[in-house]
Symmetry: C2
Subunit: 505 residues, 2 copies
């Protein structure tokens, strides 16, 4: 066989021991928080049926699906059938026993059914919805699940964007309560703090507020136009947004009204207070404001009562005027953002986005929201859900740039490397090695007979802290040379002494 | 959109919270052992280039690769080009900028380059070889890596065989030392014991012994024929094997000689002693026996010295007659099996297989061996490697059947569920909940206002051990009702008392 110069598909990556350790650190940190908040893990297959995936992510998403060829040599067969002039119906019967469509669907953009019926997981939300429907009889609702798995998108790779990347999702289905939102916000806060990402901003909005804004600005039917435009504020600025809305036949005064609303500043109390005034004619808008208020009020309840150790109900959280006092929320990096409009095609209530505010990346490291009828498409209507997602790879990039990984994370966890002069001392060292391992000390023996200097190079490259050197002398006395590779010092110890020494470090 | 009845691709599975917890228990147990023995993790992409995968697993393996369609609507384009009668060279230029082959390769069985250039990982060994070659300048050799990831094969699904399944591999590359084999055998032993799978058999053989057997039976060129035949001993018995060899023009006395050898019984000393006598005319065979002897001798060294606490070299492990004394190895479930011939197309030295010997499954739960030149195909010759693999899914099935999972493994880790009578008590409970979580006690609040009985049903379904019931009384006194859902008892406690009580459990 000819020698091949190996490569990997673009947008995918190998992970070295150190990278795996760092990624695992992020995953474990997030997972611990999920568990603390009562979430349970599920996993779904890498491949889903295309019938499950297509049509769920919009036309753009359908194009980004990685499709898997059916087994068998379909292309060759296609050629043969093309040559033979076999008709469509015959081909359908031959190749599509499980497919209910027709080969003529071949011309449709999204599906190539007869050579491909499976695709790679595009996100964790649609597989979760499918899971809930398929397993509804085994599930106790409300179902609080987390899922940490890779997803694939045939997107153009660029800095911070990969074709294989991991999502860490937590969702609650089967509960309308806004206390779920409260939990999810706390999960974000706790996980990012645990990871050392203090400089982040959790932006929150509500689709009902966006509807209310549309209603008072120009009419509810214009919500999507408004949402699509203001979603680009960060990129194209107010001028760009205004230009876009003018093109969509918005009047100057409508645009001005819109900006007056989304630019409402101040603390959360006054923000919501001002908005209430502006949206007072929109029932939907007022409902959205009340949902946000409930979330903030609940934060005050939990923070007040946890802080003050007060055994009595703290009624001061709601003032007599009905305006909620949520000044304490400043300690969460929670920011109301009336222009936040992501995921509007499926979110029906709360909308979240988390952005890292330090370093060059400033990228979205998480997002989520409430969707009222996600499982409907799979035959289980009226199940409300709310969820959040952590983007592992973005978080990794941010932490790497800001140097946030603990220095204790290393490629190798080995504490002691046995270095031997010859075969006899290797055989002798095997028993010592076993004792260390029996004491749960990760340890190794350099397997080949090489100069001790070479063996120590290996230990140094892997940042193994100790080397245990064994030769004839050591075998005779039972006292091994223990070399501290960090300090460069060495001393003779028995194996038991070595174990005692290492185990307390 | 029409309602779809959801399903998942055949041979794939969803994993429920309990299943994920059990799978994680296996993975964590194996991983801890890998780390204790000095192995470091890597991860490789789910998709590999087909040029990396094809031709590495034999014709059969090539057929079982899951191939991923290139992005873009290639099939439609293929049809158009077929219609236009575009010639091959033109199509190559249009579609295959990165592909060095020709469209005429389309007729070859394995590759469908112009609509597919990527495939799903088929095992962890070939991606590892590719990794080693691509990252050779960053790697310190010997490189001891572990890798725990899913692989995909378009095999016919059946009991215990899935299209998506996990492998857990540990390999050492860049060292010829048989001490690596010693480590890997210990890893198997330790991991299976930790998992509670005491009834397993680790079969060991050596390709050089198989070569020696072929040499003395009929000639080295018949090794593969012999290997393929005796590999089926378990299934078709001696009679079947003999029949197959007769068809391959083996003579009666050759077959008889073969069975005499592979049926050598007795303890390991006498097995190898008898074999040495029979293979004395084969240099290769003798080398294989010596390799096995070294492994067994080294086991005695490590067990003797660890057991006897003897500070002096234990020279009794090799008797004066040169026959190795390895009686102590009986405590490892290690069995020499001269008929073990798996993976002969790549293994060049040691061959391992692990079989569960209890329960109905009796399936192979692990395997491995030494390969002298795995990275050669990717341009890095003369790098010896030896590795083992754990089959997560088979191990899971065995443990499930034999009821070996610890009863502490549960879907939910939540210790306390707060059940509230109304909105006010919910708001009150939020602070208590926060205190428990701050004390690292996984806990939840039932998010909706429902009858307490309904809320307790949720706790019982998830086997949450305690419920904390909060109503007006509890808010007044600050003493909450803590219900032990296992015993059915209940008592009033302050939040701090509850924390103290739960945290010590």
């Amino acid at each position: 066989m000819a020698v091949q110069k190996p490569s990997i598909p673009k947008g995918t990556r190998d992970f070295s021991p150190e990278q795996v350790a760092k990624r695992k650190y992020i995953l474990t940190t997030i997972e611990k928080v999920f568990i603390k908040y009562g979430f349970m893990p599920i996993e779904t297959p890498t491949m889903e049926n295309l019938t499950t995936l297509t049509g769920k992510y919009g036309d753009e998403g359908d194009k980004l699906l990685f499709k898997v060829l059916n087994s068998g040599d379909y292309l060759k067969e296609l050629k043969e059938f093309n040559d033979k002039g076999m008709d469509h119906e015959e081909m359908d019967k031959t190749f599509l026993p499980s497919y209910t469509g027709k080969l003529s669907d071949l011309d449709s953009k999204a599906s190539i059914p007869f050579i491909s019926e499976k695709g790679l997981r595009y996100d964790l939300t649609v597989p979760f919805a499918r899971y809930v429907v398929m397993h509804q009889n085994e599930i106790t609702f409300p179902f609080k699940r987390y899922q940490m798995q890779p997803v694939w998108r045939a997107d153009r790779p660029q800095k911070g964007r990969y074709r294989e990347f991991w999502q860490c999702d937590a969702d609650v289905v089967g509960s309308d309560s806004l206390l779920n939102e409260l939990d999810l916000i706390q999960i974000y806060d706790e996980a990012f703090r645990e990871l050392g990402i203090g400089n982040y901003e959790l932006r929150i909005n509500n689709r009902k507020i966006l509807a209310g804004i549309a209603e008072v600005v120009k009419g509810i039917e214009h919500m999507n136009t408004i949402a699509v435009a203001i979603d680009k504020l960060d990129k194209i600025g107010e001028e760009g947004v205004a230009k876009e809305l003018l093109l969509s036949r918005f009047l100057e005064n409508e645009i001005q009204k819109l900006f007056e609303i989304i630019n409402i500043k101040g603390d959360q109390i006054s923000q919501l207070f001002s908005l209430k005034e502006k949206l007072k004619s929109s029932q939907e808008g007022i409902k959205g404001i009340e949902e946000l208020e409930f979330i903030f009020k609940s934060f005050d309840s939990l923070l007040d009562s946890a802080r003050s150790d007060n055994k009595q109900i703290n009624s001061s959280t709601v003032s007599s005027s009905g305006v909620v006092n949520y000044s304490t929320n400043k300690q969460l990096n929670l920011k109301i953002d009336f222009s936040l409009a992501r995921g509007l095609s499926y979110y029906t209530g709360s909308i979240f986005e988390v952005v890292s505010t330090e370093g060059s990346l400033k990228s979205s490291i998480g997002g989520g929201g409430r969707y009222d009828n996600l499982t409907g498409i799979f035959g289980l209507p009226n199940v409300s859900g709310v969820g959040i997602s952590f983007g592992l790879d973005r978080i990794y990039d941010v932490m790497e740039e800001l140097n946030l990984f603990p220095p204790t994370i290393k490629s190798s966890n080995t504490k002691v490397l046995f270095c031997c002069f010859d075969n006899a001392s290797q055989q002798y060292a095997l028993g010592c090695l076993k004792k260390l391992r029996d004491a749960n000390i990760p340890s190794e023996i350099y397997p080949d007979i090489k100069k001790v200097g070479k063996q120590l190079d290996y230990a140094n490259a892997l940042k193994i802290p100790f080397a245990c050197i064994v030769g004839e002398n050591e075998m005779q006395t039972g006292k091994l040379v223990l070399k501290d590779l960090h300090l460069g010092t060495q001393e003779n110890f028995s194996v038991d002494e070595i174990i005692k020494k290492i185990i307390t470090l």
